[in-house]
C-alpha cells in the first residue's frame, strides 16, 4: 500500500509486474532502468538464478516527479513467473498499489498466460484485493515474434473486461513506458479516489 511521508514530503507506491515465466517482466524493468536519468532511479536489484530466471524478485525504485509538493516515488517489482515459485509471488504482492500483467504473445504460451492470470486473481484475492478494483493494465509482449497470436484473440482470452492494454516488444522497449505510465496513472488516480 502506498506510504505518505510528510516529513520528507514523499509518496511511495508499489507496482508489481506479473505474468508467466519468460514473458518479459524482467526485460521491462531492465529497459526502464537503462532509459531513466540516473537522478531519477536507484539501483536495480535482481535476485535471480544462474540462468537469469527471477528467483525472488527484481526491484527498481523510480522517481516520477512532484505532485502538489510531494515527490512521487514508484517501487517496481517483478515476480518470478515459474509456476513453482508461487509462495514467493504471494509475498511480493503484499501491499501492492498497481499491477501490470505481462502476457507472452506466442501462441504456445496462451495456456501459461491464462494460468498465470488466474493465479494472480487467486493470490490477490487471498489478500483481500479484487483484480477488478486494483489499478491494473495488461501488456501483450513479444509482438515481434512470428508465432504471436492475433491481438483479438489475446483480448478475448486475457482481457474480457477491457482493462488498459498495450502491445509491446520489451527487448527494444516498444510499449514499455506506455505501460508504466498507464499503471502509474491508475495508481495516482486511485489515491485521489481513496482520499475522498
Amino acid at each position: 500500500m502506498s506510504f505518505i511521508n510528510y516529513a520528507s514530503r514523499e509518496i511511495n507506491c508499489k507496482v508489481v509486474y506479473y505474468g508467466p515465466g519468460l514473458c518479459g517482466k524482467t526485460t521491462n524493468l531492465q529497459f526502464i532502468y537503462a532509459k531513466t536519468n540516473p537522478d531519477l532511479k536507484g539501483k536495480m536489484i535482481s535476485l535471480a538464478t544462474e540462468t537469469e530466471r527471477t528467483l525472488f524478485f527484481d526491484f527498481l525504485p523510480l522517481a516520477l516527479g512532484q505532485i502538489r509538493g510531494f515527490k512521487t516515488r514508484f517501487h517496481l517489482y517483478t515476480v518470478p513467473g515459474q509456476v513453482f515459485y508461487d509462495a514467493s509471488r504471494k509475498l511480493i504482492l503484499k501491499g501492492v498499489d498497481g499491477v501490470v500483467f505481462v502476457a507472452d504473445s506466442q501462441m504456445e504460451r496462451m495456456e501459461a498466460n491464462i494460468e498465470s492470470l488466474d493465479n494472480l486473481r487467486v493470490n490477490l484475492g487471498e489478500q483481500g484485493y479484487d483484480l477488478a478494483k486494483v489499478p491494473y493494465v495488461i501488456q501483450y509482449n513479444k509482438r515481434d515474434l512470428p508465432n504471436a497470436a492475433s491481438l483479438e484473440e489475446m483480448q478475448r482470452l486475457l482481457n474480457p473486461s477491457g482493462a488498459p492494454e498495450y502491445e509491446a516488444c520489451a527487448t527494444v522497449g516498444k510499449g514499455v513506458f506506455e505501460t508504466l505510465k498507464a499503471v502509474a496513472k491508475g495508481v495516482l488516480t486511485d489515491l485521489k479516489k481513496m482520499a475522498r
Partner: protein
C-alpha cells in the same frame, strides 16, 4: 476475513519520534547504523554513521528477507520469526519485527556485541511499537479525513507528471 492493510501516513512529529528512538538506539548500542523499514520495503528513518549506503536497496531487501522467512515460519507452524541475526566477517546485522509491520535493523561491528544490541533493541522496539500504534491510528484517520494531499489533485496534475 482477508486483511487489507491501511495506507501508512507519517507526519513530521511522528517521524521525529521515530528518528529519536533510532538515534538513541544507535548511540546506546554502539552500533554503526540503525534503520526503520516498513514491511513493504520503504525506509522510514535512519541514524548512525553509515552514510552513503544504498538505503533504498537495503530497505527493499530487508523486507524481502523478512517476508521470505515469515513464509518459512508459517510452513512450520510459527507465526513469524521476530528476531534475525546475520553474522559477517566484520559487520553484523540484527533485524527485529516490531508491531507486526515495522522492521528495526541494527548494523554493528566488534565495538559492540550481540548481547548489548539485543538488550537495547528490546527497549527501543517497545518504544517504537508505541509510536507506531499512534501512527496507525492517525493513518486510519487521515484515510477517512481530508488531510490527504491527494484529495485535491486533478487529472491535470497527473498528466503533467508524464508530460515528456
Amino acid at each position: 476475513m482477508p486483511f487489507v492493510d491501511t495506507q501508512l501516513v507519517l507526519f513530521d512529529e511522528d517521524y521525529r519520534k521515530v528518528l529519536g528512538v533510532c538515534e538513541r538506539l544507535a548511540r546506546d548500542a554502539h552500533s554503526k547504523g540503525v534503520f526503520v523499514v516498513d514491511k513493504n520495503g520503504q525506509l522510514m528513518a535512519e541514524a548512525g554513521d553509515l552514510r552513503g549506503l544504498d538505503t533504498t536497496s537495503l530497505a527493499s531487501l530487508t523486507a524481502g528477507c523478512i517476508a521470505a522467512t515469515g513464509g518459512l515460519a508459517k510452513i512450520i507452524g510459527e507465526e513469524e520469526f521476530p528476531i534475525h541475526f546475520h553474522q559477517g566477517q566484520r559487520d553484523n546485522l540484527h533485524m527485529t519485527v516490531v508491531a507486526k509491520r515495522i522492521i528495526l535493523v541494527v548494523i554493528f561491528d566488534e565495538r559492540s556485541s550481540l548481547g548489548l544490541v539485543r538488550l537495547r533493541v528490546k527497549k527501543a522496539g517497545a518504544e517504537l511499537a508505541r509510536v507506531f500504534e499512534e501512527i496507525q491510528k492517525k493513518s486510519e484517520r487521515a484515510r477517512n479525513g481530508a488531510t490527504s494531499p491527494f484529495a485535491e489533485i486533478t487529472d491535470d496534475d497527473i498528466d503533467k507528471l508524464f508530460a515528456d
